[in-house]
């Protein structure tokens, strides 16, 4: 199976603090790769580098597409999502709380809709071509809402949804930009076991049906071990282990990092 993302010798320094130290790993197409590690290991920093929120001190990140590879360093900010098609969610949910569920999903399709609305001109003239495109966008939103079972709440404010539903909504909102790579920052945080199970189902669906690669930061081991094809373990910014879920469970280094070393 071909590589989707290659991280090569990534280093991120904040002043004297080395948050990520010479990190290299690959993720493959149609696989779920988890990044785990104790608190402060640098997991979210990796995400922020990948999704353009930080500019790494040194190192390269490549996204492999059909026949060429795209350097993510070249894109900053919103272009990561717009051009490189890397989507992400956040550790603390970042929906648009005062906007409706449907509007949240339409904002995710902003760039296509902007072009369809002729940068607002066709939209102001209320042309049919724009209305058709808008209907397509609504249909796409409905498709995803059907999957997470929130269609009946499409017109309610996103901020009024229960916590677990907000998590799922944030994930499908990211999926609405049709990403090549989906980065999820602790999607199971604060979910109860039933909701975690639903989350697993959703992530497996995205992996198999949508052929989207998933990069996952997670503390909930039932999620990590249940769905990961590949696990990267970080501690103090360094990669201490890489392998399948089964191998990770047995790894001495990982156990030591989490539980400490026997005296």
């Amino acid at each position: 199976m071909s590589n989707l993302l290659s991280v090569e010798k990534l280093t991120m320094k904040f002043g004297g603090l080395v948050a990520i130290d010479d990190l290299s790993f690959d993720t493959k197409n149609n696989q779920i790769t988890s990044i785990i590690g104790p608190n402060g290991a640098g997991k979210t920093t990796v995400f922020n580098c990948l999704t353009g929120f930080y500019k790494p001190t040194t190192g390269q990140m490549y996204l492999h597409q059909a026949d060429n590879k795209v350097s993510l360093r070249k894109y900053t900010d919103f272009k990561i999502a717009h051009v490189a098609k890397v989507a992400r969610t956040f550790q603390n949910i970042r929906l648009f709380p005062a906007m409706s569920v449907l509007e949240n999903l339409l904002v995710a399709q902003h760039n296509e809709l902007m072009i369809a609305s002729g940068y607002s001109l066709y939209g102001l003239l209320n042309l049919k071509s724009y209305r058709d495109k808008e209907q397509l966008a609504v249909n796409k939103a409905k498709y995803w809402l059907d999957i997470i079972g929130l269609t009946h709440r499409a017109d309610d404010n996103a901020g009024d949804l229960p916590y677990g539903d907000q998590r799922k909504l944030e994930i499908v909102r990211a999926m609405c930009i049709e990403p090549k790579l989906l980065c999820l920052d602790e999607p199971a945080a604060g979910l109860n076991p039933k909701e975690s199970a639903e989350l697993n189902k959703l992530l497996k669906f995205i992996k198999t049906e949508k052929k989207t690669g998933i990069l996952l930061i997670e503390h909930d081991m039932s999620v990590v071990m249940g769905i990961s094809d590949h696990v990267v373990v970080l501690n103090y910014g360094k990669k201490i282990f890489e392998g399948t879920a089964e191998q990770t469970k047995k790894s001495k280094e990982v156990i030591e990092a989490y539980l400490g070393v026997d005296e």
Partner: protein, 422 residues
Amino acid sequence: MQKQDIIKSFKDSLFTGLIALALFGPIVGLRTASKGEGLFITPQWGVVFLLVGLCILGRFLININSARRTEFKIFSTLSSKFSSITEDKAKHFAITGILFAVVFPFLPFTDRYFMDVAIMILTYIMLGWGLNIVVGLAGLLDLGYVAFYAVGAYSYALIATTFGWSFWICLPLAGLFAAFFGILLGFPVLRLRGDYLAIVTLGFGEIIRIILINWYEVTNGPDGITGIPRPSFFGLPFKRSPDEGEMSFHTFFGLEYSTMHRIIFLYYLILVLALITNYFTLKIRKLPVGRAWEALREDEIACKSLGVNPTNTKLTAFAIGAMFGGFAGSFFATRQAFISPESFTFIESAIIVAIVVLGGMGSQTGVVLASIFLIGITEIFRDLEQYRMIAFGGAMVLIMVFKPKGILANRKPTILMHGDKK
């Protein structure tokens, strides 16, 4: 109501009275008056006690009201009346309002004074709607909005007096200039949010005013620009005695000459301009760019993660908001026929922001209600001269006490999946 509640409210209101006494004592109580030679202090303790008494009473009533909402019919019905005005009902209100505005000039009690006040209120409504795009939708607190109003007014005045072009050519040009200044302001403040943005925009408003005062060669400095052409009715001027071979409005329609013709025309002009602003805002709110503005207000980082370009989105909000400010400015210039930097002070910006915030951020109908309320009340008390600002302050306090989120704070989604069933 329990006894200790009353005692507690009473104690609290006495404390309020103490603060009021400390404030009003020196400010109102000691008045300097010049009698013959030199200044003398005339105490006015009667007024002070009256004001302090009012504060104590007001605070007491508010306390009792919050302790037991049902008891005090006046306050609770008043506030529930306002909260029952949802955007749905606001639609009926809007249609009635527009109809009323259309027939207003021909109502029997309408005289010159009423028309002038109505024109002023409509100007503020238009400015409020323009600023609503920037503050209400995009969530960018702009305290220097009057700068665009000034740019529009001066562009119109300068173009019209220099080249003698007609109002209908100058109006879009003034709007374009104002939009350009909107982008000019937008660039340096792209990374700023909240309080910091407010301070920079406030500074921008002052910069424009000070340039207008000091750039004497172009703007004529503090003396202002006089003799700005009046608008014409599709080429027909409103003149008592038109030039040779020229028709004027009253001769063309065979009417008796009246200054009211021009006033009525100006009234409809600003009404149409304001309604265009409103229509445009309502439309664009439902387009992708409008949704992006609101999304940006909600969470900028989430916007970036979804590929929304925050720079373009913010700049369009600034530019479009400024454009409508510019239109309103050129209307102001043509109505007054004289403009000077005096008209574009910070207090104007503050009033417009107050209208938007008190109306309920992002609510179009709220802006109308707040304009009528704030400008209307200030006008009613015009006889009190400088004390009318007390009425203005009082109106703001009333809204903030009873509707802290603004008169109309309900947001309706821009698009519905299940149709309008609620």
